[in-house]
């Protein structure tokens, strides 16, 4: 029996005149690995940002295990959705262990007073956090690098560390934004195994990826986003066979043409930069 973990209803995200995500309905069930694919600029990352509260969707709601989530990133994480970023966003000048400990923020509650007074409760909580973090580092195979600065890790390990940091918040759903970008085939394979292992721990996974082999190997279900709209959704076979998907990827003149696709994208990015400089309206350029 499957219960929905994540339910997005009619999510729309507009940036001025550009509609990056257009009335997307989306469900992830417990125990599932779901793929989200689509050409560059299709709105996949924007959709993730809407799910995690980094963007406030123009329309629509996101609910986790039946409760509607407020569009605040820290509350979303607290509810049980953790994520990684397309452009790795580790805390570069913190150690590997510290990065994972920060991930445990929502599952611990020692405040300033407890830190200043250092009662037995504080020490116990710190020790428990560290143990849990070390377990995660062992799980992804970085335990031996616990005291390295995150910035000094090789690229592939940085991606893995980001996953460990996300897992530290004990999520029920993990969102991965292009977890294998920049990895060699072998690293991609280990990441594949890692994702299966995460699912086996009972965490549902929603993954964005351009590597089709990775996606079709991994996912129980795949959704295709094109120009902000959900085009097809179904099992790997269904999606692979769908003509519209093939067209979207192989490129019909009006959407696949690189020149045409890039121009509006960069214009939008500029618009984003301008919007950024007005205080309080956007929350920074999130990739």
């Amino acid at each position: 029996m499957t219960t929905p973990v994540l339910e997005a209803r009619d999510v729309t995200m507009r940036f001025g005149g550009l509609t990056a995500v257009r009335s997307v309905d989306f469900t992830v069930n417990s125990g599932e690995i779901v793929g989200l694919i689509g050409p560059n600029g299709a709105g996949k990352t924007t959709f993730f940002n809407c799910l995690t509260g980094l963007y406030v969707p123009t329309e629509g709601t996101v609910s986790y295990k039946g409760t509607v989530l407020p569009p605040k990133p820290h509350l979303v994480t607290k509810a049980g959705i953790a994520r990684t970023f397309q452009n790795i966003r580790l805390f570069a000048n913190m150690t590997v262990l510290e990065n994972v400990l920060v991930g445990r923020h929502t599952r611990t509650k020692e405040g300033l007073w407890s830190a200043l007074l250092r009662g037995p409760g504080f020490k116990k909580a710190e020790r428990a956090s560290e143990e849990r973090a070390m377990e995660l580092l062992e799980f992804i195979g970085l335990a031996h690098k616990r005291d390295h600065l995150a910035r000094n890790l090789p690229y592939g390990e940085q991606r893995k560390l980001e996953i460990a940091r996300a897992l530290a918040s004990e999520p029920g759903l993990l969102l991965l934004d292009e977890p294998t970008a920049g990895m060699n085939p072998q690293e991609t394979r280990t990441t594949e195994e890692l994702v299966f292992a995460i699912r086996d721990k009972g965490v549902a996974v929603l993954v964005i990826e351009h590597d089709m082999r990775f996606i079709f190997n991994l996912c129980d279900r795949v959704a295709v986003l094109v120009q902000g709209e959900k085009l097809v959704e179904g099992t790997s076979e269904v999606v692979q066979a769908d003509e519209r998907v093939i067209a979207a990827y192989l490129g019909e003149p009006f959407e696949g043409d690189p020149g045409a696709a890039e121009a509006p994208e960069s214009a939008a990015a500029e618009a984003g930069a301008v919007a950024d400089s007005t205080p309080g309206t956007t929350k920074g350029d999130v990739q």
């Binding site: 990133p73 400990l101 611990t108 300033l112 830190a115 909580a125 390295h148 920074g284 999130v286």
Partner: protein, 599 residues
């Protein structure tokens, strides 16, 4: 496992190392040794004929004033040169077995001696005022420099590279032999005593020239110890004996007023402590949470005014009210906390520079508001530009801080009493800082500083933890302010401004944090001590002191952006040193670097 490293990344450095001055190594060493001894000896001669130059350098047979500095530099040069001969028992002085410490010590002796000689000639108008002893000192202090420059160093591609090699710290230093815990503790004790002595000497310098000479010697000596690897060794020892080192530091700080006969120097001490405490509070805001606060001194002001208002001063609006100090301290910290929250709550939701602008504005508003609340242009609360004078001294259980007290045969004056109180408050702030930094909340501050978006996506309520940092910083400044009100007898609006030529002001506080080293405990304290002493001692700079300060700041940011005392993170951030942050559990090879081809 054989690992060989190139000491220089320069391929053309394959030429055999040689000295800038062509001399055999043995001659170079001899020159250093003889020069060092001669320099030290020259301090016993008479350098000038008149005691008009401060410090009385006229006596033959006994050094005075600046001559002591020449003496010290000469002795250090000779000592390290002897160690470089490989004399048993002195090997620990040169863990890296490099020449840079010798070069730097020679330069220190040369610098301070020539500075003195030139200062005599300019102050007394002419070289004729130099006795033969002065000339001897000048020549003697030049010898070690010549010797040092004759020591072989790898020849770089450009002259600049070659010169750099002379003062460079090697990348790899052999791991120390394990030492017994008691030796480590003894080392910490000795260093604390020497540190106290050096610090006390600096505070007690009576005239600008002596302070300049002192700075030259101290800077070069510390630089030499740094390149020798001694400072690294010491910080390892400190890390292994943290609580003992903290206790020793605390004891040394307490010992300071007992070494003073003149309460004036205790006054300098207490002011440094106040300045340092506030800088450490600011370090939570700037160094940990990464929030740029340009109006921080206003929180010190809020604390000081609160304490003044409830001090029982007859000029206070509430002249009848006299809080005991603990209540006044809590009131001051609480008032600052409230202001911190009031300023922080609306602005900390914004990103980037807005906070800097708002805090800058708040700082100025505070000063102007306090200036105007005199009953004419505003409500009568702060007595306007006249401030609140005649703040009575504190009194604990009959121990009046205003009177001198005899303790164990030492007389502690008014400022010494406050100094001791301030040491306690500083200890409290250090404790708060270190405990907060190493905890869940401290990690979330650093995470916010590193990447706010990622931090919020990890479940950190950015606004909340930033507000906590801001409020904590503000209340610590307020706490320091309550003492400062009593120390200075009166509070007036003027010192609480953004920039001025004397500390504390917001610019100086920020500079103390950045100069000393963001995110460290010792950094802001050292930065505060330096920034307080420089304008205090170098009166001759006067109106040019801000210019000199600006130049110094630019130079430091160019050559050591992580500050004098580097946080490990910062050091790695600014200098790409690859994987050197690997904890050095494995013993590094003690072998010399790769033999140069053709050598």
């Amino acid at each position: 496992m054989i690992s060989v490293t190139e000491t220089t990344k320069n391929p053309s450095a394959a030429i055999a190392p040689r000295g800038l001055i062509p001399l055999p190594v043995s001659a170079a060493r001899a020159l250093l040794l003889v020069g060092g001894i001669a320099t030290a000896a020259s301090a016993f001669l008479s350098w000038t004929w008149t005691s008009e130059f401060p410090g009385d350098l006229t006596v033959t047979g006994y050094p005075g004033g600046l001559q002591w500095l020449t003496f010290t530099a000469g002795v250090l040069t000779a000592l390290f040169t002897i160690a470089s001969y490989g004399v048993r028992g002195l090997g620990w002085l040169l863990p890296a077995r490099n020449n840079a410490p010798l070069v730097l010590l020679a330069l220190g002796g040369f610098g301070t001696t020539w500075y003195t000689v030139i200062a005599i000639a300019t102050k007394l108008d002419g070289l004729a005022n130099l006795e033969p002893g002065g000339w001897v000192a000048a020549v003697a202090s030049l010898l070690p420099v010549l010797g040092a420059l004759a020591l072989p160093e790898p020849v770089g591609e450009t002259t600049k590279d070659t010169l750099k090699a002379y003062v460079a710290k090697p990348d790899r230093i052999s791991a120390p032999a394990p030492t017994a815990p008691w030796i480590q503790r003894a080392a910490i004790t000795v260093v604390s005593i020497i540190g106290l002595g050096v610090f006390t000497y600096g505070i007690d310098t009576e005239y600008g020239e002596l302070f300049v000479g002192y700075l030259i010697v101290v800077v070069f000596a510390l630089w030499a110890m740094h390149t020798a690897g001694l400072l690294d060794r010491f910080s390892h020892i400190v890390a292994a004996n943290r609580s003992f080192a903290l206790a020793m530091g605390f004891v040394a700080a307490i010992a300071f007023p007992f070494t003073q006969t003149d309460d004036h120097y205790a006054n300098i001490g207490v002011n440094i402590l106040i300045f340092g405490t506030v800088a450490l509070g600011l370090n939570i805001v700037v160094g940990l949470a990464g929030l740029l606060d340009l109006g921080y001194v206003a929180f010190l002001g809020v604390g000081a005014y609160t304490a003044a208002l409830v001090s029982g001063s007859e000029f206070s609006k509430f002249s009848g009210v006299q809080f005991p100090f603990w209540a006044a301290a809590i009131a001051g910290a609480a008032a600052s906390l409230i202001f911190g929250v009031l300023i922080g709550a609306p602005t900390l939701r914004l990103r980037g520079d807005y906070l800097a602008i708002v805090t800058l504005g708040f700082g100025e508003i505070f000063r102007i508001a306090v200036n105007n609340m005199d009953g004419q242009s505003g409500p009568d609360i702060t007595n306007g530009p006249n401030g609140i004078p005649s703040i009575p001294d504190l009194s604990f259980f009959g121990f009046n801080f205003g009177n001198p007290h005899d303790i164990a045969g030492f007389t502690l004056g008014r400022f010494a009493n406050y100094y001791l109180l301030m040491v306690l408050i500083m200890a409290l702030v250090v404790l708060v800082y270190t405990r907060a930094a190493d905890s869940r909340i401290g990690r979330s501050w650093i995470a916010i500083r590193e990447d706010e978006t990622a931090a919020t996506a990890m479940g950190i309520n950015g606004f909340r933890v930033k507000l906590i940092a801001f409020a904590l910083g503000a209340s610590l400044a307020g706490l320091a302010g309550t003492v400062s009100a009593h120390v200075t007898y009166s509070v007036v609006p003027n010192p609480y401004q953004f920039a001025g030529s004397t500390p504390p002001n917001s610019a100086f506080l920020l500079a103390a944090v950045v100069l000393g080293g963001m995110g460290t405990v010792a950094g802001p304290l050292l930065g505060a001590a330096l920034l307080y002493l420089l304008p205090e001692k170098l009166v001759f700079l006067q109106d040019k002191s801000l210019l000199a300060f600006g130049i110094a700041l630019i130079l430091l940011m160019r050559f050591r952006p992580e500050g004098i005392i580097a946080n490990r993170r910062r050091q790695l951030e600014f200098h790409e040193t690859g994987q050197l942050d690997v904890p050095d559990t494995e013993t590094l090879s003690d072998e010399p670097a790769v033999t140069k081809a053709g050598a």
